[in-house]
Symmetry: C2
């Protein structure tokens, strides 16, 4: 099927669209020995691996809230819509197996753009072994909405959850933090902004638009004794309290130990720490592990090209005290208010 310039969803209709989107996906992501029925029927039919558990997650992106079409290209948007779901699977130590995509379209979207969206999504699906098993297209005149549900499988029946952190554990993160939030800040400053136009700026923007789910690292956490894990979508100070609450423990962070990309420090000398701890959308893994397990994880992480850093420690919860404190370079210890990063309360 050839795309005609400027052709829209309304021109080709729902069924014409679905055929074109299916064709935009790599063949190995729409069919396979375990997928008996994929895109085009009432539902997808898939054979899970005997003995494994299923891990199911869903995450949506809404235009104007999670993305702006003048800030992202369509292929990156497709990548991100799938990546944020795969990141949730990584947080459980699960292997991605299939995803379904629910598109809410205004109707005036260009077919060529939606094909690019599916190419971006399909490239990540192919790289991660994820089948695109089906979905749904609905009219959504007010805003483009992209909902993906991803299904993964446990390894050997085991998964990592948020509950399990114990006093004495190390609190650790993968990669570096703050690049995505810095990239978002650069996008908000506009193409003529004082910091734009450098390679550094482009790298940070890319970190925001095309996050990499830490699928390679996740099984190592599971194999080497991590006690709890989640992915960082709301920032370290927004997400760590969720592990603490689920595990009924408290934690102390060391601000000087938080790994922040040099580019973030360079371009944002005044607020790199806020970007790294409150910015969100890093999609790195936050985990806890006993000290010996953490040391092992740090060593094996290098084998998949990942770095992990200890940023604090888990302590016993005290009813009267704060559940999370952060110690700064000047020795001052700050209590972190919980629930300050609520999507509806909007205090970022």
């Amino acid at each position: 099927m050839n795309e005609v310039n400027g052709q829209t969803v309304r021109d080709v209709g729902e069924f014409g669209l679905i055929a074109r989107l299916r064709a935009a996906l790599p063949p190995e992501t729409v069919a396979g020995p375990d997928l008996a029925l994929g895109i085009g029927d009432d539902a997808a039919v898939w054979r899970p691996t005997p003995g494994e558990r299923l891990v199911v997650t869903t995450d949506g992106l809404v235009e104007g809230i999670h993305f702006r079409l003048d800030w992202t290209d369509w292929a990156s948007l497709g990548h991100k819509a799938l990546a944020v779901n795969l990141s949730d699977l990584a947080a459980m130590g699960a292997v991605p197996r299939l995803a379904v995509v629910s598109l809410g379209l205004r109707g005036d979207e260009e077919i060529a753009d939606l094909v690019d969206f599916y190419r971006g999504l399909g490239a990540l699906a192919a790289r991660t072994g994820t089948l695109i098993a089906g979905g749904d297209v609905v009219a959504s005149p007010a805003a483009l909405t992209l909902h993906v549900t991803a299904i993964g499988e446990s390894r050997g029946g085991r998964v990592l959850s948020r509950a399990g952190a114990r006093p004495g554990d190390v609190v650790a993160v993968s990669g570096t933090l703050g690049a995505s939030a810095a990239g978002l800040r650069l996008l908000a400053e506009g193409a003529e902004g004082p910091r734009r136009g450098t390679t550094t700026a482009a790298t940070l923007i890319d970190a925001h638009l095309r996050p990499t789910p830490r699928l390679d690292l996740a099984p190592l956490l599971l194999a080497h004794g991590a006690t709890a894990a989640m992915d960082l979508s709301d920032g370290l100070l927004g997400d760590l309290p969720k592990i603490l609450s689920a595990s009924d423990v408290a934690a102390r962070l060391d601000a000087t130990a938080i790994p922040v990309a040099a580019a973030v420090r360079a371009l944002f000398p005044d607020d790199w720490l806020a970007l790294a701890t409150k910015g969100g959308e890093d999609y790195e893994l936050l985990f806890t592990a006993p000290p010996r397990a953490f040391t092992e994880i740090r060593e094996v992480a290098a084998t998949v090209g990942a770095t992990v850093a200890a940023v604090g420690g888990v302590v016993a919860a005290v009813a009267a005290g704060p559940s999370l404190t952060m110690r700064h370079g000047d020795g001052l210890e700050e209590a972190v208010a919980s629930g300050a990063f609520d999507h509806f309360r909007g205090e970022r």
Copy 2:
């Protein structure tokens, strides 16, 4: 947790909301021996039945397109958001097992209303043995959006698909058609409309707001040799072409054989046939079966309180001819244009 009058999503925040919604669900729908991890973690973890295939479907409802808050109560909306997905599972002959719910909220919704939404959804989940395993809440300022992904399991590894109809098969539907479309018409006519206020009108409106997925009937279709099936969401004339196309066959319908509720004929004497064939959202099952299998299915359907009716027959596809024709009571045979029921082209 008590709901305070007039309290909104913004008042209680994302995490307060999730706790209240979880509490609104029947306990057996949020936990069970096969659900290792449900609402509250990055993903749900569930153990599928060994040997069965998984059936995965996703369907979304968008405010202003699929529902209006001045036409539905919140509990019915919760029922319908899950029902349309369970109907897709029924169409495959699958058993529902779990669902995840992605809510796109403006933020000014009242907590009591969202709790009602979850009660309606939860009641149907409990009745159908569906676990509510998790979900996602995102901000969606322009319109309330409700995306559900449901996962079912095959029975004995077998499912019904749209491909499989063969020349000589009977084309059949369950229940009666047109009640949902008639109910929608009544809602559009307004509370002061000439047809409102009767029990008949209330029944039709209820059919639109609270469709019943045909989960009991589906396994009987599978067990007794139905060759293809789907659920009726776009009307008989919108949906049957999908089976014909997937099965590479044609069909003839007999307009006089289409089961239409007496209430629809009574309140809409001029266009009951259009409501029954083009109206949509009946969520009855449309299926094909060899004549002998159809006769068996008709007999056993009564054991689950369902009726099925033969409405036409499958014939071989002819390249030059129409794939679907409908014969009227006056003997006239009409060719049905395919693709006339596209959500984006809007020719209803």
